[in-house]
């Protein structure tokens, strides 16, 4: 099914079927454009085959037990191409997903989690305000993975960042450099990255980021973070003789 115009029920009485968070100030055409971007992704056809409404995905979903969240509604909205609801989900629901893919046990072989991956990606690429909000406080992790090639580092274990993990975090933090030297594998002696990554490897990683549009996505999500990451990459690449 191809959607070219708003479904009648929305044009006739939009407010009647929409929730209070339906983003009525956003033009339908803009919402439709985002949905078309989701559908254009090569992976979309692998993630949606229809929906029995059996609810197996909801029963398996950890986020559904904690939030007002339903993977079944995600699959159904996508199957119906309910552009208004999809836009609402893209803003209010997708960041609740745990991305565990328990919903992949769907008897129709849908992947609501996969659909959410695509919805999130489009939300980030288009700089949606809710995506920026969801990523607030997450910038340091994006910085770490993009510049060091490892997601987290031992020196992230700070008591103020993990107060709920108990007093051992402070003990680890206080002894970090010493405890890292007490690890037999040589690659683990670092405190600033998960393991030692060679400079040549980082250069190759930076070239991947530059040649795969990821930097454009970061710019949409957080302009300041984009500048900082780009500075680190440029310095390393220029030192290695690359023109950026």
């Amino acid at each position: 099914m191809s959607v070219t115009a708003p479904p009648a029920r929305f044009t006739a009485d939009p407010g009647a079927t929409l929730s209070p968070h339906s983003y009525l100030d956003v033009a339908y055409e803009d919402k439709l454009a985002l949905w078309e971007e989701v559908k254009a992704d090569d992976r979309f056809a692998d993630y949606l085959y229809g929906c029995y409404e059996c609810g197996i995905c909801v029963a398996a979903c950890p986020s559904a037990k904690f939030y007002d969240f339903s993977p079944r509604k995600i699959a159904q909205a996508a199957a119906r191409e309910d552009v208004e609801l999809i836009y609402e989900q893209m803003n209010d629901d997708v960041w609740n997903c745990s991305q565990c893919f328990s919903c992949n046990r769907c008897p129709r072989e849908n992947s609501p989690g996969g659909l959410i991956t695509l919805l999130r990606e489009v939300a980030v690429r288009n700089g949606l305000g809710t995506a920026k909000e969801a990523l607030e406080g997450y910038g340091r992790v994006v910085y770490k993975i993009m510049t060091t090639g490892t997601q987290i580092s031992p020196d992230m274990l700070q008591p103020d960042a993990f107060p709920d993990w108990g007093p051992d975090v402070e003990k680890t933090s206080d002894n970090l450099e010493l405890w890292r030297r007490a690890l037999p594998p040589e690659t683990l002696h670092t405190t600033e990255m998960s393991w030692q990554v060679s400079n040549e490897t980082l250069i190759e990683l930076y070239l991947i980021w530059l040649h795969s549009d990821v930097m454009d996505m970061i710019a949409e999500a957080d302009e300041g973070l984009h500048m900082i990451i780009l500075d680190v990459m440029e310095e390393t690449l220029e030192d290695a003789g690359y023109e950026v």
């Binding site: 997450y138 031992p154 030297r181 007490a182 998960s194 030692q196």
Partner: protein, 398 residues
């Protein structure tokens, strides 16, 4: 006390072996060979000797014994380094030839599933770069992280099924002067442990027969591209993945079953970093408390970075709320290493874990106080400059 709702393991009847010809999913390896024949990519073959295991639909998967390129895990190396150290230690105990490379990046999938600040081309290129780096050494990728394993399987399917994506990735690889390489099998380290479990049990020096262990299988191990996970008709009648349970049984421990076996740990990727109220609640109320009520295990054994982290670290805050928690959490690698006599601090590095593990060590017959004094002695040698790093030889010193 809630009455147990779990099905006794003995009640699971053994069904007939699955016939690969009836598998509902494709065998991606056949398409890989076709693409290789067409000159589109290189398929890195599993080096011999290898061990053959059965996957979900009855297909055979090859697990290399050695010549492995260890694709490390961000969370393991960063915050629970005894996990990675135990994997390497086990390989060394069997004299296996392996590489611990610095020419490896993260798969970057933790960030991808958390923040979506990436895309299919970038993810496939990162995977391909790591695969090519392994291929150049002649060693075969052995994936430590469950998410890397699951994501690489997804990426492999995308590379095979989407020619335009494949072209873009090949173009990026060409800029790096690297070929587009895909391994014949995506192998998780816990599959190596599973395949080696009888040999590990033969080297067991500590009695684990009094220990009850509850198993948590990692979602990204068996829910992503499910047909690649190991199943065994002798374990759960072939109805659940056999990985992890296999080694726990081989070491003589009792498996403490519970009704939320299939639930995730609550890691959530973004949640564990910036929205931990979800992770803490789910890990303790849907996993640890249910295990305690239904199986009362001495330990939880799992096989992924996020699962160990979430299930272990979440218990401190729950204890403050008088919840029924307090079960140590280890990886299968750490459990196997302890069984084979590994030092609890020099190798298994339990001081990086949060939940009290001392009662477990006592049940294993380990004098943890003496072991800690030994480790403190190592730390003094490091502090004084007598040694710069703790070596493998230091770690195995009696």
């Amino acid at each position: 006390m809630i009455e147990s709702t779990s099905i006794p393991l003995s009640a699971i009847r053994k069904p007939p072996l699955p016939n690969p010809a009836d598998a509902p999913t494709e065998d991606i390896r056949e398409q890989l060979y076709e693409l290789e024949e067409a000159g589109e990519l290189i398929v890195q073959r599993v080096p011999g000797p290898y061990i053959e295991v059965m996957t979900k639909y009855g297909r055979t998967k090859k697990i290399p014994e050695q010549m492995t390129w260890h694709h490390k895990s961000c969370g393991q190396c960063g915050h629970i380094p005894g996990y990675s150290t135990s994997i390497f230690w086990l390989n060394r105990q069997f004299g296996m030839n392996y590489v611990d490379p610095t020419d490896q990046t993260s798969c970057t999938a933790w960030n991808y599933y958390a923040s979506a600040t990436s895309n299919a081309v970038a993810q496939a290129a990162v995977a391909s770069r790591n695969f090519a780096a392994a291929y150049e050494t002649g060693y075969f990728p052995m994936i430590h992280c469950g998410t890397s394993y699951g994501h690489y399987k997804e990426t492999r399917q995308e590379i095979v099924h989407h020619p335009e994506l494949r072209r873009k990735v090949r173009d990026i690889m060409a800029k790096l002067n690297k070929p587009l390489v895909v391994p014949e099998e995506i192998v998780h380290y816990s599959e190596w442990i599973h395949a080696m479990r009888d040999r590990i049990a033969k080297k067991q020096v500590r009695d684990f027969s009094s220990i009850t262990a509850s198993i948590h299988p990692a979602c990204h191990y068996y829910k992503l591209v499910t047909e690649d996970a190991i199943y065994d008709p002798d374990i759960y009648g072939g109805q659940r993945t056999a990985t992890v349970t296999g080694i726990v049984e081989a070491l003589g421990s009792t498996v403490g079953d519970y009704s939320t076996f299939f639930d995730c740990c609550g890691f959530g990727f973004r949640h564990i970093l910036v929205q931990r109220d979800f992770s803490r609640s789910f890990a303790t109320q849907r996993k640890i408390e249910i295990m305690k009520e239904e199986a009362n295990p001495d330990v939880v054994i799992t096989h992924d970075t996020g699962c160990v982290t979430t299930l272990d670290k979440s218990q401190f805050a729950a204890r403050a709320h008088q919840r029924n928690v307090g079960v140590p959490v280890l990886s299968d690698a750490q459990y196997a290493a302890l069984a084979m006599g590994a030092h609890p601090y020099r190798i298994v590095q339990l001081h990086w874990h949060a939940t009290d593990y001392t009662a477990l060590l006592e049940k294993m017959g380990i004098d943890w106080e003496k072991a800690w004094v030994e480790f403190e002695g190592d730390l003094k040698r490091l502090e004084s400059g007598e040694i710069e790093y703790l070596s493998w030889e230091d770690a195995d010193a009696k």
